[in-house]
């Protein structure tokens, strides 16, 4: 069977792939966007019901598509994000092929060969925009959790109604973990939250959304080649933030107030018991110190003379439990909010490092004509968010176009 030829293939019709399409079209580079499901698939299929963006609406702008709705300070639901991305696809008039999964990508003489559900493609260049969060990450000891305890990942979790009786152990205290823990505790279940390293932020600082400060003071504009420890910065957990009309802070103190029990990082399963680290106090003081440093930086940037707006330190219980018998019935469900990773199982080009991460310089992958978009801190700190795609996609497509001449 003869392969179809196209100059560029974009993999994934999330906001990143569509932004690539936008700039490719602007440069009249013929291309197709492959999508295994529908446009904005991850927002339709891989988010829980109550999810709202933690970034305010005014920040969720895409290239050529500013927020023009009635509530710039609000936070979109997952469904609204899918709607936004749908509109973006229409504005861009992106040549998306839905229900067309990429199953193999390999290098050829002049570019790349792509196998898809809809046949073979040959392309001179490829933009990988297949997402940074395709697979929920769980620790290996998840396999040792007794079968009487139900295990869910954020991809399986929909709402409290779906979680059976009994207590819930939520593992991980980043945005996903704190949001799910709060909603389950509010639904009347006893939640235990296992807390490792985390990023604490207040929702509002000096009457403005904390993300306003990050945006305005230039924190998000820091480039990947200016960041001191890029590796660590790219692995930084998402901040403890939630979007909602009340613009409330959802840090560990707020969860304690709701009645959530805090324990240390879940370190192992032994004899049917979960063993938690005794280092909770340390991860909390690290998070407090970093938060205070960030906020002090905002004040410095604003040359604010008023003294630093004090935020109470994280209240760590005098004693946290180090052990939980998983067979006792106290816990009916474990929810792993332990992060996500990209899925590159179809990638037959040797561009992954020993940890399975894509080797790239600001989106330029270590193989000619191969590019990436949508990864954390791809080119700037803002790359991690929807809002960061414009500059990244423009740069990557410029580089790609220069390679075609």
């Amino acid at each position: 069977m003869s392969a179809e030829r196209v100059t560029t293939v974009v993999v994934g019709a999330g906001h990143a792939g569509l932004a690539a399409s936008h700039f490719l079209t602007a440069r009249s580079i013929d291309h197709v966007v492959l999508e295994r499901g529908e446009v904005a698939n991850s927002w339709r299929r891989e988010r829980w019901e109550s999810l709202r963006l933690l970034t305010p609406n005014w920040l969720s702008r895409l290239p050529g598509l500013d927020y023009d709705g009635p509530d710039p300070d609000g936070y979109m639901t997952a469904g609204e994000v899918a709607g936004l991305i749908d509109r973006f696809a229409a504005v861009v008039a992106a040549p998306v092929r839905e229900q067309t999964a990429l199953t193999a990508l390999s290098r050829t003489e002049g570019g790349y060969r792509l196998s898809t559900g809809g046949g073979e493609l040959l392309a001179r260049s490829v933009v990988l925009a297949s997402g940074a969060c395709n697979v929920p990450v769980t620790p290996s000891f998840a396999a040792a959790v007794p079968s009487g305890v139900r295990q869910l990942t954020p991809f399986d979790y929909r709402s409290p109604a779906q979680v059976g009786e009994g207590g819930v152990l939520v593992v991980g205290a980043s945005a996903t973990g704190v949001q799910i823990a709060a909603e389950l505790q509010r639904s009347g279940r006893q939640v235990i939250l296992s807390v490792g390293e985390h990023v604490r932020l207040p929702r509002m600082y000096r009457d403005r959304d904390v993300l306003w400060w990050m945006d305005a003071s230039g924190v998000w504009d820091q480039r990947y080649d200016e960041v001191e420890d890029l590796d660590r910065a790219r692995r930084l957990p998402s901040p403890q933030l939630v979007g909602g009309a009340k613009r409330e802070t959802l840090d560990l103190n707020a969860l304690t107030e709701l009645g959530v029990e805090l324990v240390g990082r879940w370190a192992a399963v032994r004899d049917g018991a979960a063993l938690f680290s005794g280092g909770l106090r340390n991860v909390c003081s690290l998070a407090d110190l970093k938060m205070n440093r960030l906020l002090a930086g905002f004040d410095q940037w604003a040359s604010s003379s008023s003294s630093f707006e004090e935020i109470a330190p994280t209240l760590v219980p005098a004693r946290t439990r180090l052990k939980l018998d998983l067979g006792s019935g106290e816990i009916g469900t474990v929810i792993w909010a332990t992060g996500f990773r990209p899925d590159y199982r179809w990638l037959d080009v040797p561009v992954l490092d020993e940890k399975g991460r894509l080797r790239h310089e600001g989106g330029v992958v270590d193989s000619p004509g191969l590019y990436a978009l949508g990864l954390p801190l791809l080119r700037r700190r803002r790359s991690t968010f929807l809002n960061g795609i414009e500059d990244d996609a423009r740069y990557v497509v410029d580089h790609l176009a220069a390679g075609l001449v």
Binding site: R270, L275, S277, G279, L286, N292, R293, R319
Partner: protein
Amino acid sequence: MTTIDNGVNVQALLDAREVLKGAPEAAQFTWRASSKWTRGVHSTTTIEKFFGLGQEQTHKAQTEYASDHPAVFAAEDNGITPIEYLLVGLAGCLTAGVASVAQNRGIQLRSVEATVEGNHDIRGILGADSDIRNGYNDIKVTFHIDADASKEEIEAIVAQSQKRSAVFDALTNPTDVTVEVA
């Protein structure tokens, strides 16, 4: 600019970190101790060789540590108790961490003192109450640090030192321990 000298060769450590990123085998260390019973609950533990950077290594000198138990345990007190060695390890590790982090952050230390207290309910080891654990219930470390730095900077150094501490990790996280008879 004044040069900061806490006596830690941080550059060597940072260089090692870079080199070991590409050579995980070389980063595999095995620390060893061997002990010999003397009499009663008194024993001596010797430390001399270890394995690291892909080969056998030897300390400059062999060191001996006596373990015994105090007179209140009806023992002869020829040395500190094994569980006190954990406190020695923790204090030593966190203090080393404080010096290294301070050096790396360009902070001159003048003095660093740590007091370590471990609360231990000995009914556990005596088998008097099976609900009580054998080890420490909690450990508290108090640092007194004199340095050219703000209180906040010092707190950050101490927090970072815990984050990087081998002994803090060994005490706070479970470890798979195998004991067998050869």
